[in-house]
């Protein structure tokens, strides 16, 4: 796996479509933690790499995957402090003539961008990169001087799940950790223009593109890929059944609704959970999450939604033991791939991680008279006319078929929705046939007609209907339970959860980041304190009478124990003497 290492010799500023804030003539895009997230393809648009078929991802600070874990921990303690991370990499200059600011990358900083290329092209790419001496604008004291180098990125990724040679595996669970926003373009989705999961077909297509081995590609075609849904609590989350709703109990939650004229005396209002995912909807206390999206702008000027970087999505691949092992070995050797739209611009960059592998489940009887069947993914069914079937009764028929009891079940409750599937097919420009299918989250409650229990094992987790190899038709069944009230809490999807192998360098980089951020935090607090004393200082009160030595020492011990008191005192003096923006 290769990367482009960029070292800034001078400050670097460039025009980008991604604008962080208004009033900046040039800005440096950052991710939601504050780390620069550099669209290298856009930065080098005047000197593009002259090798066809090369895909360059976004550039992040060196050791990024380790740094984000530390930064995520810091954010939990010091929310909204992404500014402190940003200033470690980015400087600001005011341009008096234009009346605007420029943000530039500081000098002597290192960034790495993953690059997908063939091994035989590495020499040509390396030679070209050596000729690139400047990037971006060269004015207002910004030199744009850089050093680019092609490097190998082995050892950057997470620990691989060890497969036991004595087992006979039938499924492999993998995680896709997004490091740049990914747009799985779905122009007809409600609300957003991206799927909120990674379609199985798309994952298969990207894995095929990493390999030049036709036999391996043919093998992938035989395997079944489920959709990769948002990951949380260390598990693959499944859609919350559409029948579930949340009740707003707090009048403040009705603030927006009151503005449209709703009756303020009604506090309890129900909201159906859509696009929500949970680990287990049967619990009394259910946590659910919704994938986070953001807007991106692609080179052709179109605006579309994308899954935010940092989120992880888990999916399952089914196949023979030999296929599973071959795929696991391949993922270990090719941990980085890009998925979705505009990957040539750096979007959709992701790391793959193997989370687990399972053997065929041992059959255990699960007798039930009354049970629920939930569609975990959109389910395509065809009736005997070859027409799409999207009624609850059609799903019932499929379930009876799987259980071998045609006509033996009846529906006693249902909550279904229909989704227009445009037969998402990566690589195909035209739309496919539009087929109405049962939407993910559709649920039916069924009961045996004769009152005798039936074994749920065959349908506990299986695939029914059409296009199952690409993740459609995933259903799950469980005994019906009556829980009228339960508590639900929405939580943000966990981010940057990939397990990274620790090394001395990574430990040092992480510690250095934390120390730098805490020092910046302490400096801002000390200088804010100095502002309060500025008036007295300007009246002529001596510094030695003003400086609150004990307080500064206490603050130092809180943030950066052991820091030289002279440094802290110097910050205080700077705060007294200069107009500071705190």
């Amino acid at each position: 796996m290769y990367g482009i290492r960029i070292r800034t010799i001078g400050e670097v500023a460039f025009q980008s479509r991604m604008k962080m804030s208004s009033g900046y003539h040039c800005d440096v895009p950052v991710d939601h933690l504050g780390f620069p997230c550099l669209p290298l393809t856009e930065m080098m648009k005047d000197t593009p790499i002259p090798v066809p078929g090369v895909q360059v991802g976004f550039a992040h600070p060196e050791g990024y995957m380790g740094l984000v874990r530390e930064a995520s921990d810091l954010e939990e303690r010091f929310p909204n402090d992404r500014e402190l991370i940003r200033v470690l990499f980015v400087s600001e200059h005011f341009i008096a003539e234009r009346g605007t600011y420029i943000r530039a990358l500081k000098s002597d900083r290192s960034f790495v961008a993953p690059i997908r290329c063939r091994k035989e092209d590495t020499e040509a790419i390396s030679s070209f990169l050596r000729t690139v001496k400047r990037i971006g604008m060269t004015e207002e004291g910004i030199t744009g001087e850089v050093e680019l180098k092609l490097c190998e990125l082995d050892g950057e990724t997470g620990a691989a799940f060890p497969l036991n040679r004595l087992c006979c595996y039938t499924s492999l669970e993998y995680a896709v950790h997004l490091i740049t926003p990914a747009c799985l373009y779905a122009p007809y989705e409600d609300g957003t223009s991206t799927y909120l999961y990674l379609p199985g077909a798309e994952v298969r297509k990207e894995l095929k593109s990493l390999s030049e081995n036709e036999a391996f590609s043919a093998m992938l075609e035989e395997m079944a890929f489920s959709h990769a849904t948002i990951s949380g609590e260390g598990k693959r989350l499944i859609p919350v059944p559409l029948c579930m709703s949340v009740v707003k109990l707090d009048p403040e939650q009705l603030h927006c609704r009151l503005s449209t004229g709703k009756d303020p005396s009604r506090i309890e209002q129900e909201v159906t959970l859509t696009n929500a995912y949970t680990a287990d909807f049967r619990k009394h206390f259910m946590r659910y999450t919704k994938p986070v999206t953001e807007r991106i702008s692609t080179r052709d000027g179109s605006l579309c939604d994308a899954l935010q970087a940092g989120q992880a999505f888990r999916g399952i691949v089914y196949g023979t033991d030999e296929q599973i092992r071959a795929l696991a070995g391949f993922i270990r050797e090719h941990p980085y791939f890009s998925i979705g739209k505009a990957t040539d611009e750096g979007y959709g960059g992701a790391y793959l991680e193997i989370c687990g592998a399972e053997e065929e489940a041992i059959r255990t009887e699960e007798p039930a008279v009354c049970f629920d069947v939930v569609c975990v993914s959109d389910t395509l069914l065809l009736n005997d006319e070859g027409m799409p079937a999207c009624r609850a009764e059609d799903l019932l028929r499929e379930v009876e078929e799987h259980l071998g009891i045609p006509g033996g079940l009846e529906i006693i409750g249902k909550y279904t929705d229909v989704y227009k599937d445009f037969h998402y097919c990566p690589g195909r420009e035209q739309d496919g046939p539009v087929i109405r299918c049962l939407k993910a989250g559709s649920v039916i409650r069924v009961r045996t007609r004769n009152g005798k229990p039936v074994d749920l094992f065959p349908i506990r987790h299986c695939f029914v209907g059409e296009n199952t190899k690409n993740g459609y038709g995933e259903i799950s069944a469980c005994s019906a339970g009556n829980l009228y009230y339960r508590v639900a809490e929405q939580v943000a999807p966990p981010q940057y959860t990939m397990e990274m192998p620790m090394s001395y360098v990574k430990a040092q980089q992480g510690a250095s980041l934390v120390l730098s951020v805490l020092k910046e935090k302490l400096k801002s607090v000390v200088q804010a304190l100095a502002i309060l004393d500025r008036t007295e200082y300007q009246k002529g009160v001596p510094l030695r009478e003003l400086i609150p030595t004990d307080l500064l020492q206490m603050m130092t011990e809180t943030y950066v124990p052991g820091l030289d008191p002279e440094i802290v005192a110097q910050w205080y003096r700077e705060g007294l003497e200069v107009e500071q923006d705190v």
Binding site: L382, E385, M387, R391, H423, C425, G465
Partner: protein, 133 residues
């Protein structure tokens, strides 16, 4: 290669076939029991999801059904619709995308006649449809 029953399809017309990664929309003719495009046989290597062979009056459709591992063949004719309840028929005219019109013999518009029926729950459901031009 997929097999069709040439005697069920119109002798000459348009083929619309959906594959997993491609769409074929071409004029065809059946000669000596063989399906020909521009006078030659050319089949993609993979099985399609569904294919439609149609002309003004008849559509021959094959749908491959993965769940039952079977294929469903249907022939629908305009003549059948003449005896159906007109309230249960709905015809929609659809323009063809410009990129396909370059092939010369593709018509500018297609007609889709949807056939409805009443379900056991007294709801109107789509029973079938016929493509024509």
């Amino acid at each position: 290669m997929f097999e069709i029953s040439p005697e069920k399809a119109p002798a000459r017309g348009i083929l619309l076939a959906y594959f997993s990664d491609a769409l074929v929309f071409e004029p065809y003719e059946i000669r000596d029991g063989r399906l020909l495009f521009d006078g030659c046989e050319a089949y993609p290597d993979q099985l399609p999801w569904e294919i439609h062979l149609f002309d003004r009056d008849t559509e021959y459709r094959i749908v491959w059904r993965e769940a039952r591992k079977d294929r469903i063949e249907r022939v629908m004719t305009k003549q059948e619709e003449e005896s159906m309840d007109p309230d249960l028929l709905y015809t929609e005219i659809m323009p063809v995308k410009e990129e396909y019109l370059k092939k010369g013999t593709i018509p500018e518009q297609l007609s889709v006649t949807t056939r409805y029926r009443w379900s056991e729950q007294d709801t109107l459901v789509m029973q079938n449809y016929r493509i024509s031009f």
